[in-house]
């Protein structure tokens, strides 16, 4: 039996306000196998951690239970503490007496105290059965895969390659550049996107560390952080690449204007979306940069821009703000006015969201210098009349109905996830949100990481973004990849499944249930083996195994039973 020390944390009043911590400490002192127990105000503080270290040294402890908050919070902290005192970190466990006890039983101190004692007792039993474990070393393939050759992907690729690491850049289309290649110019300074982009593309295609695969798609993804195996299909040929990290930069599509039937998006040629207008403004576009009505090629004298054409509309399943439309619509209206000075541009808006450096000034320029007419209200209907597109809307500032006989209507339709994004997310085992955008690990602090280790996100695949944001994220994702590649080795939690080969019948049920492809039947011994670096310790194989041959390290059946008995005894 181990000599276990129990360290009871007050967490200020968080625990001590509901649980009688002194009584708990006293009760645990006489618990079988507990050699020492003490309480302290904040166990995670430096003096609190020193208490643990001192006790390990002085009392020769070989097991530690910290009764505190959720292990999700400070398990790592306390395991580092015991490691610093020379104890195997996996012989330290956290008993959660805050989230699962004090916080939920505020009105009953007596029973909360008894429950805390019980919880700690079960964890003491667990520690008695814990084995010392060593983290698994995982090889790192110092090569990155970037999915998507738009501006975010190009930035990530060039930054990683600049540090000397190999990059595989997979692009679905024939050319690099993504959506940015379809645009006419940028907002704020009307820079030609073609020029900006060609510089970036040049850097990427010339870099010997970068392999560019165009007209290519990711077919399958296996493996794990540091050691992914990615099958890429390029023009019918499959090739497998071993990479250590993956950056997803698959960008966006536009919500189909065909679904906006009140605006006639599906039936009137002179109702177009923002990207079609960009193509029209672009020197390489179908009209060589001239603004024309698609129906008959005339120069439009009245152009109506409709912002939030589908965005911020829960009825359409697009509750979010598409973020870039206020700015690009202002730019488009100005570019139109520069080309057709006598023409009139109208912009219907709900709010003007010009959040960025120089953005507000830019929309003001549209109003003041270019005399673009901003109307605060929604457009209810667009229909043809006498060769024009009648636009019915409201100006909610004057409270009047507005009717414009326009030549051209431009709909700022919402950015939605790329059509292929959902399938890719499944291959990568990365979560998506309710709209299909890739989910970041934390909305504030981990914006370019996914919750799948080794998979990073950049650009509009995560949410609507403009060019500078996509560039920032491409660079940030590259920095994450580089900090991974610069480590000497990476380790993997050793709490993984194991197989008792004496009990295994080789039936293969566990191979099928494993969501991480971490199992196989050994070709010679015909019993199940665990690929430990792939195992996430989920426990699905334990439940599935009919022979009880599978177990999870430090969650052995005997251990669990002892914990249950501790509960019943209490």
């Amino acid at each position: 039996m181990r000599k276990v020390g129990v360290f009871v944390c007050h967490c200020g009043r968080n625990i001590a306000g509901t649980v009688d911590v002194e009584r708990v400490t006293e009760a645990l002192r006489s618990y079988p196998g507990v050699a020492y127990s003490i309480d302290y105000l904040y166990m995670c503080s430096d003096p609190g951690q020193d208490l643990i270290k001192e006790a390990i040294a002085k009392r020769d402890l070989d097991g530690v239970v910290v009764a505190a908050c959720s292990p999700a919070m400070h398990e790592i902290t306390f395991r580092r503490t015991v490691a610093a005192a020379g104890l195997n970190p996996y012989l330290c466990e956290v008993a959660n007496i805050r989230e699962q006890c004090s916080w939920v039983h505020r009105d009953d101190m007596e029973r909360a105290t008894l429950k805390a004692i019980q919880i700690i007792g079960t964890i003491v039993e667990k520690v008695h059965h814990d084995e010392p474990l060593v983290p698994l070393a995982v090889p790192i393939a110092r090569r990155a895969l970037i999915i998507g050759g738009g501006i975010a992907g190009l930035q990530a690729a060039s930054d990683i390659a600049a540090a000397g690491y190999a990059v595989i850049l997979v692009e679905r289309e024939e050319r690099l550049g993504g959506r940015m290649a379809q645009l006419s110019g940028t907002y704020l300074n009307f820079d030609s996107t073609a020029d900006l982009l060609s510089e970036k593309v040049e850097v990427v295609t010339r870099n010997p560390h970068i392999t560019v695969l165009t007209r290519a798609q990711v077919e399958a993804v296996g493996g794990y952080l540091g050691d992914f195996k990615v099958k890429v299909r390029q023009q019918g040929n499959d090739k497998e690449y071993e990479v250590g990290a993956i950056v997803v930069a698959t960008g966006y599509d536009l919500y189909p204007k065909e679904r906006l039937s009140e605006y006639g998006g599906e039936r009137y040629p002179d109702v177009i979306d923002g990207l079609e207008f960009e193509r029209m403004l672009s020197p390489t576009g179908p009209t060589a940069g001239e603004v024309r009505c698609p129906s008959d090629g005339r120069v439009p004298q009245e152009v109506v821009f409709v912002q939030c054409a589908g965005s911020r509309d829960p009825e359409r399943g697009v509750s979010y703000c598409s973020k870039i439309c206020c700015m690009y619509t202002a730019k488009q209206a100005m570019m139109y006015k520069m080309q057709v000075p006598q023409g009139q541009a109208y912009i219907f808006y709900i709010d003007i969201r010009a959040l960025g450096k120089g953005y507000e000034e830019f929309t003001q320029r549209a109003m003041e210098e270019h005399r673009v007419l901003y109307l605060r209200g929604k457009v209810s209907k667009v229909f043809p009349q006498d060769g024009k597109m009648m636009v019915w809307g409201a100006d909610t500032l004057s409270g009047k109905r507005v009717e414009v006989a326009a030549d051209l209507v431009v709909l700022a339709t919402p950015m939605v996830p790329n059509a292929d994004a959902f399938g890719l997310a499944q291959k990568l085992r990365v979560a998506t949100d309710e709209y299909g955008f890739f989910s970041e690990a934390h909305p504030k602090l981990r914006p370019v990481e996914s919750l799948t280790a080794g998979v990073y996100l950049a650009g509009a695949c995560q949410a609507p973004k403009d060019i500078p944001e996509a560039v920032t994220q491409g660079g940030a994702a590259a920095a994450k990849v580089l900090s991974l590649f610069s480590q000497e080795k990476i380790t993997h939690d050793p709490i993984v499944a194991a197989v008792d080969s004496e009990l295994c019948a080789g039936c293969g049920i566990c191979v099928e249930v494993c969501p991480y492809e971490a199992r196989e039947i050994h070709p010679l011994t015909k019993v199940a083996v665990v690929k430990e670096v792939l195992c996430q310790g989920c426990g699905a194989c334990l439940v599935a195994c009919p022979n009880k041959a599978s177990h999870l390290r430090n969650f052995a059946p005997a251990q669990i039973m002892a914990m249950i008995e501790a509960l019943e005894g209490g």
């Binding site: 039937s261 009140e262 006639g264 039936r267 009825e315 209907k381 229909f383 043809p384 009349q385 009648m390």
Partner: protein, 278 residues
């Protein structure tokens, strides 16, 4: 094909021609209608804006009667259809409100049947191809605009019928009859029917606009599937005949029509010029 049938009040009075033509056409198309016994008001006229419980309980009682028939329910009046669909949605999706309504009416909603307007039955279940094949007298040369109004297609999450912004089934049906449906942009604009008593002036403005837009499009008559639209549009002007689509189906199928005299604007002179009526 068997269906239960809920005519509602309009079809016994202002929209008698809708009732007559619907019954005659469906019989010709091989549909057996069972008028649900002891039916009551659907509450569309006033209950729905005054008392929510009553507004749901009235249609719920109709659904309770229809449920016994175990076949889909045909509700020709767009307002009845709308109230029935609204109530159905509450019974299906809102246990608290639905349970209350069930207690008031004294039944348990189990579903298993759909509420349909005749346009859905004829256009989708029977099918336009079959309808087309049964046409004896194509409505050649008859230029029409289809007018939907609001209640048949809105709100879309309740009625779940056609695209509320650009419904097309009525156009395709008129085409199948050999008539010439015209493009116009006012098929779902408001006719002001709900303001008929309170703001007659507004209703008149809206009706005048709709009629003039129909004339601009080149229409000789307007076609509707809503008794409220039909009566509102027909009594506030004197030029444009307002027809139920079922009347035109009857005409095309060669049914001996006996409902034209019901109209305030007699369409027979128009039909005669096209050799479609004696």
């Amino acid at each position: 094909m068997r269906f239960s049938y809920y005519p509602g009040c309009s079809l016994q009075a202002t929209a008698l021609e809708y009732d007559l033509s619907t019954r005659a056409v469906l019989q010709r198309l091989g549909v057996e209608l069972i008028e649900i016994p002891d039916w009551n008001c659907c509450g569309a006229s006033s209950a729905h804006s005054l008392n929510e419980t009553l507004a749901l309980a009235l249609p719920a009682r109709i659904l309770a009667l229809a449920q016994k028939e175990e076949v889909d329910l045909i509700a020709p009046c767009a307002a009845c259809f709308n109230r029935l669909k609204t109530t159905e949605k509450v019974l299906r999706e809102d246990p608290a409100r639905g349970g209350k309504i069930e207690r008031v009416v004294g039944f348990k909603y189990v579903g298993g049947f759909e509420v349909r307007p005749p346009l859905d039955l004829i256009g989708n279940l029977i099918g336009l191809e079959r309808l087309h094949n049964m046409v004896q007298r194509p409505l050649s040369g008859l230029r029409l605009v289809a007018y939907y109004g609001c209640l048949l297609v809105r709100p879309p999450e309740v009625v779940q019928f056609e695209d509320p912004e650009n419904p097309q089934l009525l156009n395709r049906l008129l085409q199948a009859l050999g008539a010439e449906p015209l493009e116009w942009s006012y098929a779902t604009d408001c006719c002001g029917g709900s303001l008929a008593l309170t703001r007659g002036d507004l209703a008149k403005t809206l009706v005048t606009k709709l009629v003039s837009k129909a004339q601009e499009a080149g229409a000789q008559a307007m076609v509707t599937a809503c008794p409220l639209c039909q009566v509102n549009l027909e009594m506030r002007q004197e030029e444009m005949p307002m027809l139920y689509f079922t009347e035109l189906i009857g005409l095309a199928l060669g049914i001996d029509e006996n409902w034209w005299g019901k109209h305030l604007i007699d369409p027979r002179p128009l039909l005669r010029t096209l050799d479609l009526s004696d």
